[in-house]
């Protein structure tokens, strides 16, 4: 038996690059890919402490949607969704992107008002959105308990039909292969331990594999962004939390859409392979431990069983946690930092996967032109001083 061809080289770091991206997850790989494809910048390294896409890219629940409330968010997430719609073809790799529809359930009058408002806001922003009453919800997802006697009565739901899921590993592999083909060096097992800053400008990164000079340095390290930023002397408005998820044993097809409930912190879909993929809410405390409390999973499962009584005998195969970087307004932070040449793309919190191509697109453009991409401009660090927050706790909250 022979090993199948590797999808990318595994190069040693060179002494210098035009752009060094710190973090080889989805966002870092997408940034490298679009730097090369859209801007012709290929003297680029992606430095990954562990192995490619082994952090949150391997731990998320793969939900993709763009039904956010505010104009700024709708614009960037919808841009991302549009990229998803052409990405399998563009990367010549089946990403198993399945636009099966995402329901966001409303369990009380306040949820109903918020949901209907969001549908209206989405429609005004050209994002497909519908409001379903309980009967329509039942029709769309027959195994959902919409009875009056339910512990969490379903009083309606928003539906984005273009939303869905994708296969996270395929996304990472396809982006890595494409970036590598453009000549980008994807360097694994290479931890950034410090930054060389001269006259307020970053000139190099210190790594576990030696010094690497860099014209620009782009952080794309999700939950560990604060740790890196601190090494560059920067404080960011981010807090890192564990976010847990689980999969069941493999089942016959039973659920052909994505169901989310912010109120009870449940989101569930069935992966192509057959396992139910469920996510919980974040654990309350700050942590880098990549594990959370069992009681969080227990509460989430209890709610899931109320919504889906048919799952009562399903067995859990495994649970895990990723470390998510949560910002004060549940929106990302994208753009320059107080250190010249050092850029940040973080704060995607519990919902970064859906933004993978959109985030990479605007970050690459920001790096290439030394100014925020128009879609990234509202997401700069300065918004926490000016007060121009983009409060997506309603659309993002914990449930992604």
């Amino acid at each position: 038996m022979s090993h199948p061809d590797f999808l990318w080289r595994n190069p040693d770091p060179r002494p210098a690059y035009d752009v060094v991206i710190v973090g080889g997850g989805g966002h870092g790989l997408a940034t490298a890919y679009y730097l090369a494809k859209n801007h012709g910048i290929t003297n680029v390294a992606v430095l990954e402490r562990g192995w490619l896409a082994g952090g949150n890219m391997a731990r998320n629940t793969t939900i993709i949607r763009s039904n956010y409330l505010w104009d700024e968010s709708a614009a960037i997430y919808e841009h991302s969704l549009k990229l998803w719609e052409g990405l399998s073809e563009e990367l010549d790799y089946d990403l198993q992107f399945s636009q099966r529809g995402v329901l966001n359930l409303a369990h009380n009058l306040s949820d109903v008002r918020e949901g209907r408002r969001r549908v209206n806001a989405n429609q005004l922003n050209g994002v497909d959105a519908e409001w379903l009453d309980p009967d329509e919800v039942k029709k769309f997802c027959p195994i959902l308990n919409v009875s009056d006697r339910a512990r969490y009565p379903v009083m309606g739901a928003t539906l984005q039909r273009r939303a869905g899921i994708a296969k996270h590993d395929h996304v990472a592999w396809a982006l890595a292969r494409a970036a590598d083909a453009y000549g980008v060096d994807l360097i694994q097992g290479c931890e950034v331990t410090g930054f060389e800053i001269t006259g307020g400008r970053v000139t190099a990164v210190e790594t576990s594999r030696g010094r690497i000079a860099a014209g620009k340095v782009a952080l794309a390290a999700a939950g560990h962004t604060s740790v890196l930023a601190e090494r560059a002397g920067i404080r960011l408005p981010l807090q890192s939390h564990p976010l847990q998820a689980l999969v069941s044993e493999l089942l016959e097809p039973v659920l052909d859409c994505v169901v989310m409930s912010n109120a009870v912190h449940v989101y569930v879909s069935q992966a192509h392979k057959g396992e139910l993929v469920m996510g919980a809410g974040i654990d309350a405390y700050n942590s880098y431990g990549q594990r959370g409390g069992v009681h969080v999973i227990e509460a989430q499962m209890a709610a899931a069983l109320e919504l889906f009584p048919i799952f009562s005998r399903v067995r859990v195969l495994r649970t895990w946690a990723g470390i998510v970087d949560v910002s004060p307004d549940a929106s990302p932070v994208i753009g320059p930092t107080p250190v010249e040449g050092l850029y940040v793309n973080a704060g995607w919190g519990t919902g970064g996967f859906k933004a993978t191509p959109g985030s990479g697109w605007v970050y690459a453009d920001t790096l290439a032109h030394d100014r925020p991409h128009p879609l990234a401009e509202p997401f700069g660090l300065e918004r926490f001083t000016t007060g121009a927050l983009i409060d997506e706790h309603g659309a993002a909250a914990v449930a992604h």
Binding site: V227, Y285, N286
Partner: protein, 80 residues
Amino acid sequence: MLLIECPHCGPRDENEFHYGGQAGIAYPTGEVTDAEWAAYVFLRDNPKGWFRERWFHVHGCRTWFAAERHTVTHEIRTLP
């Protein structure tokens, strides 16, 4: 589930507590710039290691207290 030492009730389960984030954040006094105010409202330490934080025994004695917890091992040591 963490076992958290309440100074009044002793060791209790984590789900009796509400998390309060970083301890020792003082309300700014005097003339405060926008940047200083933003830092007070939004900037908190986010260390990988020991972290001094607030806990509220909401389902117990309702005492607020500070503890130190390691953000990787989750080991807790209560502060005086």
